[in-house]
């Protein structure tokens, strides 16, 4: 039987308090799971403004439980919702939902469906990214780093959006301006996504037609966004110029130096890094440390050095989700960044002989035997993902 939905009662959702039930959009797409605490007022406004719904059966259950709880204490009460028993839903899971939603949004876009819904959904996804970063940045970064199944276009856009949010916050960009930047990042290659499936599989050199499409994609992307209703000049400018380089070697306009504005520079750095750390058909992904070295050395004159430094400091030399080898031969995953980025918190999940561990063990990497001796590509250990991802699911 199809589920039926009713609009959320605004009074049921309180800032900073776990949601009493799961919230869906008007077409029944899961937005936030029960237990997630909305911390940003703007998130709440956008959520309710775009239409937030609850499944009728779930609402009835929650109301009944609330009434039962209240019965003993407040005889007249219809009941507030039983909040104290709710566990907060974790951020890793929220980013999994964001990935699914972005994937579906791009699928609809490619099929030419739901054009009116596109911008409100990007707005909502953008604010959810910001919300997730306020909750648990380590979990957000890990969830992207440990992805092994989403199409490139989904992970690439989301990774760029997260990096824009983190860098933007670090250099003092205000919340609203950051949201614009995040939305630009979520849509910056929209002019290419119909071609992306082919590019994902292709190992042969680009055809002249494909080359032309790639050269034209910043302009195409900006045009598409304009047609979808984007009027914000900062958003459009960031998308149009995200391939411009400070030494003037970029495209489409060959802009240089100060003419390239800050939001554009932020998106450019986020775009370059997030493209480097994913497998492509024509080259293997670089591990984060190699990508950072290349960013500094080879992109030195092309991208904003200060921003590269900010990003490296934010993400860390060993970012959450990175797979590392320890001095004692164990393989572990970085769980949390630390002030000294050489010594992150790592959980070992493979024994020195190569056997997976059922229960990963926390290792203090500052101790000599557990020093991080190097990064290992995730692809070598992705079979262990079910043993790893529980670390962010509140086990």
């Amino acid at each position: 039987m199809a589920k039926s939905f009713v609009p959320v009662d605004r009074g049921d959702i309180e800032l900073g308090v776990p949601l009493p039930y799961s919230v869906y959009d008007r077409s029944g797409v899961l937005l936030l799971k029960a237990g997630f605490a909305v911390n940003l007022q703007r998130h709440l406004d956008i959520l309710l403004g775009n239409g937030a719904f609850v499944e009728q059966d779930e609402l009835a259950r929650v109301r009944a439980a609330a009434a039962a709880t209240a019965a003993g204490m407040r005889p007249s009460g219809y009941g507030t919702l039983p909040r104290t028993k709710l566990e907060e839903q974790n951020t890793y899971e929220l980013i999994e939902i964001v990935k699914l939603r972005l994937q579906r949004l791009f699928q609809h876009y490619k099929l030419g469906q739901g054009k009116d819904e596109f911008l409100p959904r990007i707005e909502d996804l953008g604010i959810t990214v910001q919300e997730a970063c306020t909750h648990d940045t380590d979990a957000v970064l890990a969830c992207l780093h440990l992805d092994y199944e989403m199409p490139y276009e989904v992970v690439h856009h989301l990774q760029a959006a997260i990096l824009c949010e983190l860098m933007g916050k670090k250099i003092g960009v205000g919340e609203d301006a950051r949201l614009t930047l995040v939305k630009a990042a979520l849509t910056h290659d929209i002019g290419l996504i119909d071609l992306q499936d082919t590019l994902d599989r292709q190992t042969a050199p680009l055809t002249p037609g494909q080359r032309a499409r790639i050269d034209a994609h910043p302009r195409d992307s900006a045009d598409i966004l304009r047609r979808l209703g984007v009027t914000d000049p900062v958003w459009l400018d960031a998308v149009l110029h995200h391939h411009e380089r400070i030494d003037g070697s970029g495209y489409p306009d060959g802009l240089a130096d100060e003419v390239i504005r800050m939001p554009v520079r932020v998106l450019a750095v986020a775009d370059i890094y997030s493209a480097m750390i994913r497998d492509r058909p024509y080259r293997k992904a670089m591990v984060s440390r190699a990508a950072m070295r290349e960013l500094m050395l080879e992109q030195g004159d092309k991208a904003d050095q200060r921003l590269i430094q900010v990003m490296i400091k934010e993400v860390g030399v060993f970012p959450p989700g990175a797979i590392v080898r320890l001095a004692n031969g164990e393989i572990g995953v970085v769980k949390e960044r630390q002030e000294n980025s050489a010594y992150p918190v790592v959980y070992a999940f493979v024994k020195p002989g190569g056997m997976p561990m059922l229960t990963p063990v926390r290792r203090e990497t500052v101790r000599a035997e557990f020093n991080v001796s190097g990064i290992v590509p995730f692809s070598q250990y992705r079979n262990c993902i079910s043993l790893i991802r529980g670390l962010w699911r509140g086990d």
Partner: protein, 138 residues
């Protein structure tokens, strides 16, 4: 208690996945034999080996199955639920592991019915069957 055997009704219609699922039955039998030994607390290494087997089974099977489901066009939301179910199985087995690590061997007695009821009958025979048609088995 008789040993557990593979039955055709456990098949999800894919030889590789069925082969992996058979591995779980092997682990259940190993655990069953262990539980019949009189001095369980002294069989520490053997007990740990069962958990090692489970870790290897999880690493061999879950990610493979999830990728296979995604490739077969299994709906995204249902795949997310399935993944969640995998995570729950891992979480439960870990809690048994933690109990045993603290010397509470009752946990081990309860592990076998858990593997049989939740893992084999509920997960494999119910949840996994949901993707069977997508693999083109029917």
């Amino acid at each position: 208690m008789d040993s557990f055997t593979w039955k055709p009704e456990y098949s999800v219609g894919d030889a590789a996945l069925d082969g992996q699922h058979r591995g779980l039955i092997g682990i259940m039998n190993r655990l069953r034999t262990l539980l019949q030994s009189p001095a369980l607390a002294e069989a520490g290494g053997e007990v740990e080996a069962v958990f090692d087997d489970l870790a290897r089974y999880i690493a061999e099977h879950f990610a493979y199955e999830e990728l296979r489901m995604a490739d077969a066009g299994y709906p995204l939301e249902r795949l997310a639920e399935h993944r969640h179910e995998h995570d729950e199985l891992v979480r439960h087995v870990r809690s048994f592991h933690a109990e045993v690590a603290e010397g509470r061997y009752d946990g081990l007695q309860a592990l076998l019915p858990y593997l049989y009821g939740e893992w084999l009958i509920h997960h494999i025979c119910t949840s996994d069957m949901d993707y069977r048609p997508y693999l083109g088995a029917d």
